[in-house]
Symmetry: C2
């Protein structure tokens, strides 16, 4: 069975409907992956994710490697067994974390040396080691070690990040191919495209990664501080090069309106910690934009977060009550708002898929962006 | 219909089986009230409490009065509506909080003046005001303002706390009786017995409170720092005086073995924040005693918290995984352990009731205390 099956392209734009087949279930595309960096989606438990019909979560190689460490996860029979999650998992390589969280990192052709952000211990990641870790984790889809250029980024540095990313992608592919266990459930390796904000570098990176050949293609080095316009320009440089028969992953994106926009450009996969991070700061997503529940205007607002939402939080709790809990920093409040936000994302993807199915995605996107009062409605 | 119905007394000891009838459902006794001080049981939501079949929660007048304040709760139609909980609620008066949380408090015959622990604002509680607040909250059972003696406590101070508690109990009763609304669902007022560790003062307080007459009787001023032996001595002073036809509430008690012991003395009602407080510190209750999940011995322990437990946490998560989350202070971990602990308490009460029903409570108690390795097994 093919890993990715493209079902259709919307008549009105580039939005695609498909399915990703994993050893832990089918995942309809486009989909969103709730982020469980350390082995849990913050404030939620896996019963919550099943209840909201999320077929997949994302977790992180860098964090899991440091804590609890491979020995414990291997003893638990892999990450699925360790966490108690029987559906699909994608793991990020940790490349981004090495660059964003650690100090004193040193890049060489061989790999990246860094000090743990937890205990300062010296660590060394090579592309081969990062593949090996993820083979032990047993994630269904995973990413190779890449070099994420910062923002802003000079041309020379961006070029170097493309070169390293390509060289490491090739080594990752080689190690992956020569170390696939027959007994292991089939894992899938993605390629990551870098190139910062430079059109020619994005195109070059895409061509080089495509030449190596992967099960899916990710656009990395986005959502690192650039403007939304630049983010979509980077996407625009890459999309024409990507093959139709492989899933496309816009890494770390984004706000609801950004996801709606990117689906219209032909993206299939998303992840971001925004719904839980915003939830823990008492910001909630609605179809009419974000609301900040701490605001006094909600003190006696006995309506739900979002009148259009059918999640259990919106069915059972008021803005007034959630504001009260959030003001006290009660864990329950942060959890309930996080739940709603993740539900909002997961449910948004369902609505997106229904719109594509009905060949009305361009209209759906326009309506969504207008109601959400998105700046993207103007772009 | 009577508020309290005594169904039976165990043949082998003083343990009692009964029912408390409230406008928000029947509550079988003996029961435990999960503590939702500020309007939520910490880390849990009400769906959790329904799932574990808890028919009641406890909340706190002092905390709710300060935040969110009566105006908001009244606008929400009372505390049930504000929190989204349709089952029974008992509210504590806040007497204990005024004495434990606030500084610069000043007691007079009229009431207690104190500064809010939140913003330092000056507040004044009278027995009448505390009844009025709880009438607005709409709790099914509530407590009058009392004076909780500290530990240790000189005789004169203990005597004075008994005198104030009695005088305020009478004023509470009078205000309650003359301000019962016909339209309001019938609320029930309890009396609180003080007297610190002095046998004659405990007996005197009990007689005075009984003379006034309440729907139920609570033993207060316990679990304030005294030894477990002194705590059960205070109970022993009071129990012979209490009438059979009213529920008996041992306030703020306690650890699982203390509850098992107190039921055997004839107590019907309990509350304590221990299951959630311990849960947030990664301590979990089992039938073989408390375990500290942070301990390294659990790093590769892939069994459940308690092999005898059928809560969703024990069915789905391992000690190893919970230890990992607790070590990272992940909210999910603190929540899952808290859930198990509250479930352990609620389920313990069910086991207790079944043992009384079968006239085997003395045996149940002995077995429980032995397996739990309780110091009470020796008392």
């Amino acid at each position: 069975m093919n890993f990715f099956k493209l079902i259709k392209i919307d008549n009105t734009c580039q939005a695609r409907l498909g399915t990703v087949h994993t050893p832990h279930g089918e995942v309809p595309t486009p989909f969103f992956m709730p982020v469980g960096t350390t082995g849990t989606v913050k404030t939620l438990n896996f019963e919550d994710l099943r209840q909201m019909n999320s077929p997949i979560v994302l977790s992180n190689t860098y964090h899991l490697f440091l804590r609890p460490g491979l020995k414990i996860i291997e003893a638990a029979g892999g990450l699925h067994g360790f966490m108690g999650w029987e559906r699909a998992i994608l793991t990020d390589s940790g490349g981004y974390q090495v660059f964003s969280l650690t100090k004193l990192r040193k890049l060489t052709d061989e790999g990246v040396k860094f000090k743990s952000h937890i205990d300062g211990s010296s660590q060394f990641f090579t592309p081969e080691e990062v593949v090996r870790i993820q083979q032990v984790l047993g994630s269904d889809m995973f990413m190779p070690l890449d070099v994420c250029a910062p923002y802003p980024c000079g041309r020379r540095e961006a070029e170097k990040s493309v070169e390293w990313t390509t060289a490491w992608a090739r080594r990752s592919r080689d190690y992956f191919d020569s170390h696939q266990s027959q007994s292991r459930k089939k894992q899938r390796l993605f390629g990551i495209i870098q190139g910062a904000t430079y059109q020619d570098l994005r195109e070059r990176s895409a061509r080089e990664i495509l030449d190596i050949g992967f099960d899916g293609y990710a656009i990395g080095g986005v959502s690192v501080g650039e403007t939304v316009k630049e983010m979509f320009e980077a996407l625009g440089h890459v999309m024409p090069v990507l093959p139709e028969n492989k899933p496309r992953y816009f890494m770390g994106i984004g706000l609801p309106d950004q996801i709606v926009q990117a689906v219209g450009e032909g993206i299939d996969m998303f992840d971001t910690c925004i719904p839980t991070r915003y939830g823990r700061h008492a910001s909630a997503f609605t179809n009419r934009g974000k609301i900040i529940l701490r605001n006094s205007e909600f003190a006696e607002d006995f309506g739900p977060i979002d009148a259009d939402c059918d999640c259990f939080v919106c069915k059972n709790y008021t803005r007034s009550y959630l504001r009260h809990l959030a003001g006290l920093k009660e864990i329950t409040g942060l959890r309930l708002i996080s739940y709603h936000n993740v539900y909002f994302y997961v449910n948004l993807m369902r609505r997106i898929r229904e719109a594509i199915e009905a060949d009305r995605y361009a209209e759906f996107r326009q309506e969504f962006l207008r109601k959400y009062k998105s700046e993207l409605a103007e772009l």
